[in-house]
Amino acid sequence: MSNQRKIEIRVPAELGDHLKAAARHTAGRESVVFTLTSHMELTDRIVILVRKVIPLPDSAYLHDSRHGAKWSGSAMLPVLNEAMAGDYGVCLFHVHQDHGPVELSQDDYSNGGRLLSTFRNLVGLRPHGSVVFSSSHMAGIVQLPGSDSYQPVKKLRWLGKTLKDIPSGLEATDVNPHAATFHRQVLLIGSRGQMRLQSATVAVAGLCGGGSHTVQGLAHLGVGHVIGIDHDYAEESNRHRMVGLTWLDVLLKRRKTAVMKRLVRRINRQVKFTPVPYPLPDQRAIDAIKQADVVIGCLDNFHARADLQDLSWRYLIPLVDIGLTIIPASLERPELAIGGNVATFIPGQFCAWCAGFLSQKKLDEETGGRPRSYFEGTAAQAQVISFNGVLANQAVSDVLQLLTGFAPHNSNYSIRKFDGVGGTLENWRVRKDPSCAFCERALSAGEVVWRKA
């Protein structure tokens, strides 16, 4: 592992609330919260993913006025046992004050540092860390596998309806983005929101009717980096709904990713577009998604949706999924139906399995109950650009909410159901299923730790 990469910590929704409440619980001393973590390694970052929060009970603390908090070593045994059993890292969190800059104290460095070395001796293949935070700032150190030194944590991300990034005290949080282009947008989201968009990476999987719309919207918003994932080539049958597609693209059999790259370049040359012309779950597509802050799924089959859902939960990347079904009137079914949804799945909240969007039955129906190798693609269904556009633009608005929090009081976790005949988008409240086996298995699972045998 290189020591040059930045360190980021992500905490899923709900678990983050639990962690904050436990860390702010004071009884004449600081409270320390242990977390079990996994991680993923990217080319420029190492991301630590909080999987479980374990506060110390009040009875574990020992009175000692020389320390903000002191606790008995035996109180850590259950944490350490669970870390060793599951190959998890351990990261300690505590609070120094409610708001404003914070720093690790000398005590945090000396005693925390000793603890990290202990954790490393027990689980040597995961990073371990110690973090102090307030509502606006954080500071932390991490010991990486194979390293005796500590590296500073650059960013703490709380997942929720909005991704709240708390940078370390040394990092600038506000600059003036190119004002003229986004002046009227900045009136809503502020210059900090615009800067947030500019520094964000959004991946879009599936680049036809829905996906091309979302790429266009993201480029207009000024999202700094858009990753487009689709292995298909442009076809004549795509021309009626794929934004930016020309007859010449079809004639030349251009890749859809190439068409999107050109579209983005024409809208805003400041937006970087990375084409990924491979299908999910090709490793190159997976690696691209891992780079993203948010991923938008514009896919037409449940197997690929299940892959996106897995990656979203495993690496704590919010997923915005859109789907459209048009059932024309027929002799068997005289009533026309145009239905769809825009679902924002925030890791830690309800998932597509909790919501019933994914089920083993649906996956089996795609393959006739056989392995995935028997999946031959979905049959051609009715598609109309205007309906794709409604869903795609709402998905872009959901990304705007995630990145900028432009509607701070929009706290409902919901799915938007689309009725194309009535022309409505309606919020459907969905609750997390506490017994969801997928959430239990996949949330913050991170990369697998391999041991040489």
């Binding site: 599951g86 891992k290 990656l311 392995p371 995935r372 190798s373 298995r441 699972a445 391999w450 045998a453």
Partner: protein, 119 residues
């Protein structure tokens, strides 16, 4: 599978297929990864990483995508799947397996032998 049975299985797989790594999944399932197992003669590449998932009565075997058969063609009835955030090639094979009779090495060998077939 007990720890002792798992250790025995690992030793067998290592002896037959070379360097291996092991991992435990979030649901307690066990994984064995052979870094470079030998494929049937004529396949390209000659060696590939193999993933063995031990989670239930019948193990599952995956190889890295990109394997070509001795006749130069892609194997049929295959698809890429996501296993713990990593792409692997799922492929069909059919043979009887009884863990009380057959070893894990025999199972993996039989699964890899599927790539001998000129489809």
């Amino acid at each position: 599978m007990t720890e002792e049975q798992f250790a025995t299985a690992c030793a067998q797989v290592k002896a037959a297929f070379g360097d291996i790594s092991t991992a435990v999944g979030a649901s307690g399932e066990r994984y064995i990864r052979a870094a470079a197992a030998l494929l049937p003669k004529g396949c390209s590449p000659a060696r590939t990483a193999v993933l063995l998932v031990l989670n239930g009565a019948r193990p599952q075997v995956y190889v890295k995508p990109g394997v070509k058969l001795p006749n130069g063609r892609d194997p049929r009835s295959t698809s890429q799947v996501n296993v713990n955030g990593e792409a692997w090639l799922q492929y069909s094979y059919s043979f009887p397996y009884d863990p009380n009779v057959h070893t894990l090495t025999q199972f993996v060998g039989a699964a890899l032998a599927r790539f001998k077939l000129a489809e």
